[in-house]
C-alpha cells in the first residue's frame, strides 16, 4: 500500500494531482494510457515501424537510379523517399494506405461494446458526466494516439533520410510531407469512426471486429472486381466517339471514387508527386501547350480538395451515426 502511495505521489506532478481536471480530460487521459499500453497497439506499432524501415531501405537503395536527367521532379528528390520502390517492397505511402485501416480498426472496434460487456459502462454513465463525453473522449484519444504515431513516423523517416542522403528538404517538401501526414491521419480517422460505429451497433467486440474487417476486405478487394465487371458490361464499342469514351471513363471514375482508399491514394500521390496535374481523364487538347513542370503546393491541394472533402464527409458521417445511436441507446448493466 505504502509503496503504491509513494509511486502515485511521485507521479503527482505528471497527472496534475492538485488541480481539478475536467472530467472529459480525465477520460481522454485514461483512454490514451489504455491504448498505448495495450498489446494490440504495441504489436501494430511494431509492424508499422518494421514496414516503414523496410520501405526506407528500398527507397534509399533505389534513390540513385530514380533521378533521371531533365526530370521535372528532380527538384523534389526528397519526396521520392516516400514514393519510390524497386518492386520488391511497396513504398511508404502504399504501406500506410494498407496498414492505416488496420490501425484504425484495431483502435476502435471495441470502443463502446467492451465497456458494456465488462460492466463498466453503466458505472461510468452514473457519474456526473454528459453521455457524449464518453464517445467523444474515445474518439479524441484514439485520434491523438494516431496523430502522434504518424507524425513521429513521418518525421523519423524524414530525419533518417536527411542523415543518410545528406539532402535537406526544401520548405515546400517539408509542407508537402506535413500535409501527407495530415491526410493519412484523416484516412485512419475514417476507419476509426467506422470501427466505433460498429462497436456501438454490435454488442460483441468480436462481431464488430469481423464486421470492420469485412468492410475493409470488401472495399479493397471485391469492390474493384465489381467495378471491373460493370466496366466490361457498359464498355462502349471500339468505334464510339470521344464523347462517349469520356462519359464511360467518368462513370468508372465516379464508381471508384466512392472508395475511401482510392480517395486517399489520389490525395497522397498528388501531394507527394508535384507533377501530377489532374486526377481525371485529359484530352489531347487540354495537354497541348502545357509545360511539363511541377505544381505549387497550393495548386496540388486545390486538385485534391474534392478527395479531402469526400474523406472528411465519410468520417463525419460515420461519427454522427455512432454518436446519435449511442445517445439514444438505453444503458443497462451487461
Amino acid at each position: 500500500m505504502n509503496d503504491i502511495t509513494a509511486t502515485v505521489k511521485k507521479r503527482k506532478r505528471l497527472w496534475k494531482a492538485d488541480e481539478v481536471v475536467h472530467p472529459f480530460r480525465v477520460i481522454v487521459h485514461k483512454e490514451i494510457s489504455d491504448q498505448v499500453s495495450s498489446w494490440r497497439f504495441i504489436i501494430l506499432l511494431f509492424i508499422i515501424s518494421l514496414t516503414c524501415f523496410g520501405s526506407m531501405y528500398t527507397a534509399l537503395t533505389n534513390i540513385g537510379s530514380a533521378v533521371e536527367p531533365n526530370d521535372p521532379e528532380g527538384s523534389f528528390l526528397f519526396l521520392k523517399l516516400y514514393t519510390i520502390s524497386d518492386g520488391t517492397l511497396p513504398s511508404f505511402f502504399v504501406f500506410i494506405s494498407f496498414l492505416g485501416p488496420l490501425l484504425g480498426i484495431a483502435l476502435g472496434f471495441d470502443t463502446v461494446n467492451s465497456e458494456q460487456t465488462k460492466g463498466t459502462l453503466s458505472r461510468l454513465m452514473s457519474q456526473p458526466i454528459h453521455r457524449d463525453f464518453l464517445i467523444n473522449a474515445k474518439f479524441v484519444s484514439a485520434l491523438t494516439v494516431i496523430s502522434v504515431l504518424f507524425f513521429a513516423l513521418g518525421f523519423l523517416f524524414m530525419g533518417l533520410g536527411m542523415v543518410i542522403t545528406g539532402l535537406p528538404p526544401t520548405p515546400e517538401e517539408f509542407w508537402r510531407v506535413v500535409f501527407f501526414i495530415l491526410v493519412s491521419i484523416l484516412y485512419v480517422a475514417f476507419w476509426l469512426n467506422l470501427a466505433i460505429l460498429f462497436s456501438v451497433a454490435f454488442r460483441q467486440p468480436a462481431t464488430s471486429a469481423l464486421a470492420c474487417i469485412a468492410v475493409w476486405l470488401f472495399l479493397t478487394v471485391f469492390y474493384n472486381i465489381i467495378v471491373n465487371l460493370i466496366a466490361r458490361a457498359i464498355a462502349p464499342p471500339v468505334m464510339a466517339g470521344t464523347q462517349q469514351a469520356v462519359r464511360y471513363q467518368e462513370i468508372i471514375m465516379i464508381l471508384m471514387k466512392i472508395l475511401p482508399g482510392e480517395l486517399y491514394s489520389d490525395a497522397t500521390t498528388t501531394i507527394l508527386m508535384p507533377t501530377v496535374r489532374s486526377l481525371g481523364p485529359l484530352t489531347m487538347e487540354q495537354i497541348a501547350g502545357a509545360i511539363p513542370g511541377p505544381l505549387p503546393l497550393g495548386q496540388s491541394l486545390m486538385l485534391v480538395w474534392p478527395q479531402l472533402t469526400g474523406l472528411i464527409a465519410a468520417t463525419v458521417f460515420c461519427f454522427v451515426i455512432s454518436y446519435v445511436s449511442f445517445m439514444r441507446r438505453e444503458i443497462r448493466s451487461r
Binding site: 502511495t5 502515485v8 481539478v20 458505472r123 457519474q127 443497462r332
Partner: protein, 323 residues
C-alpha cells in the same frame, strides 16, 4: 429526516406496447433504508435508470434531491451513487486506480481522490488488495469495491441494484452490515433493490413490493403484515401428542375448535401437516395452552406465528396468480 429525498409521481415507462413501469408513485425519506422488492423483470432497474436520468420516462416526473432527473441528470448524478447490478471495473487497473478515476470524474483533485479512496478501501476492508488489478478480485471483493466506488463522490443517496448477487452467505452479512453502518453513520439514504426477501427484511426500514411495473404495497414490514393479514393477525400453531380421535382426522380439528370456542378471539381452527392452526384476533396463546393441557390432549408444540416478508410476498403472488 421527514423530507422526501426521492419523489416519483405517476412514473410510466413503455417500450412499445410493453409497460415496464406503470403509474409508479413513491416517496423515499432522507436517511432511511428503503427496500424495493420484486422479482426479476419487475421494472426495478428501469425505475432506477429513470431516477438517474439515464432513460427518459414516457410520462410522469422524477425528483431526486429536489432536482428533476429527466431535465438535469448531471446534477442528480453528482448527488447519487449508483451501484449497478453486476458491476464491472477496468480490469487492467488496480482497485485504487479505479477509485481514483471515479473520484476525478467527480471533479475532485487527484490527491484528494487518492486520500478518499484509501480511506474507503479501509472501510470496505480492501486495503491489502488495493494494489491488485481488479481482474484478480473475487465477486465479493468487486461488490465491496463497488460500494467504495459509489461512496467516493460523497453521495446523499446510494442506489444498490441487486448488490448481494453472487456473494457467499457470510459475505452477504458483512456487506449488509456495512451498508447499514455507513447509512447510519453518514446519514445516507439507501435504496436497496433486491429479490432476496430476507436480506431486505434484515436491513430495510421500509419496503415497497414491486411487481410487473406496479407498486403493490409500501410501508414497514409490521404495517404491511397488518394490512395484509387483517382479521387474523395471529396464528397459533399447536401440536398434540395424543389427540382424541385419531391423529389425521379432520374431526380432531372440530373437537379443538369446540374446546377453544369459549376463549374470546379464537377464530377458525384447521389441520395443516399434523399441526393445528388456530387463527386469533388477539394474543391468546397462554389461554389456549391452559385449555389444551386441562383437556389432557398432550400439548407438545406451541408456536405463535409472525408474518415475515416471505408470507407477505407469497400472499401477493398468490393473489396475482389467481387473476
Amino acid at each position: 429526516m421527514a423530507e422526501n429525498i426521492i419523489e416519483l409521481r405517476d412514473l410510466t415507462k413503455k417500450y412499445g406496447s410493453f409497460t415496464a413501469v406503470d403509474q409508479l408513485s413513491l416517496a423515499i425519506r432522507g436517511g432511511e433504508i428503503f427496500g424495493l422488492l420484486g422479482p426479476n423483470g419487475a421494472g426495478k432497474t428501469t425505475t432506477i435508470l429513470m431516477m438517474l436520468g439515464l432513460t427518459d420516462p414516457t410520462s410522469g416526473s422524477v425528483r431526486v434531491c429536489g432536482i428533476d432527473s429527466t431535465g438535469n441528470p448531471t446534477e442528480v448524478k453528482k448527488r447519487v451513487g449508483y451501484l449497478p447490478e453486476n458491476v464491472g471495473f477496468y480490469e487492467d487497473m488496480t482497485g485504487l486506480q479505479n477509485l481514483i478515476f471515479t473520484g476525478r470524474l467527480n471533479s475532485v483533485t487527484g490527491m484528494e481522490a487518492m486520500e478518499r479512496a484509501e480511506e474507503l478501501l479501509l472501510k470496505v476492508g480492501l486495503t491489502e488488495h488495493a494494489g491488485k488489478k481488479t481482474l484478480k478480485y473475487s465477486r465479493g471483493m468487486l461488490q465491496r469495491l463497488g460500494l467504495a466506488d459509489v461512496l467516493i463522490k460523497n453521495p446523499e443517496i446510494i442506489i444498490l441494484d441487486e448488490p448481494t448477487l453472487g456473494i457467499d452467505p457470510s459475505g452477504v452479512r458483512e456487506f449488509l452490515d456495512l451498508i447499514v453502518r455507513l447509512s447510519r453513520e453518514q446519514g445516507i439514504t439507501v435504496l436497496f433493490c433486491s429479490h432476496h426477501l430476507h436480506q431486505v427484511q434484515q436491513v430495510c426500514d421500509r419496503v415497497g413490493i414491486f411487481v410487473e411495473g406496479r407498486l403493490l404495497a409500501e410501508g414497514d414490514i409490521r404495517s404491511l403484515s397488518e394490512n395484509l393479514f387483517a382479521g387474523s393477525p395471529y396464528t397459533v400453531e399447536i401440536g398434540l401428542r395424543n389427540p382424541p380421535q385419531g391423529y389425521h382426522d379432520q374431526n380432531s380439528a372440530r373437537w379443538l375448535q369446540e374446546l377453544l370456542g369459549s376463549i374470546e378471539g379464537v377464530g377458525n381452527v384447521s389441520l395443516n401437516y399434523g399441526k393445528y392452526m388456530v387463527e386469533c384476533t388477539r394474543d391468546v396463546a397462554s389461554e389456549i395452552a391452559a385449555k389444551v393441557v386441562e383437556a389432557g390432549a398432550g400439548l407438545n408444540y406451541l408456536n405463535r406465528k409472525e408474518y415475515g416478508l416471505d408470507d407477505i410476498y407469497h400472499r401477493y403472488f398468490e393473489g396475482r396468480e389467481e387473476q
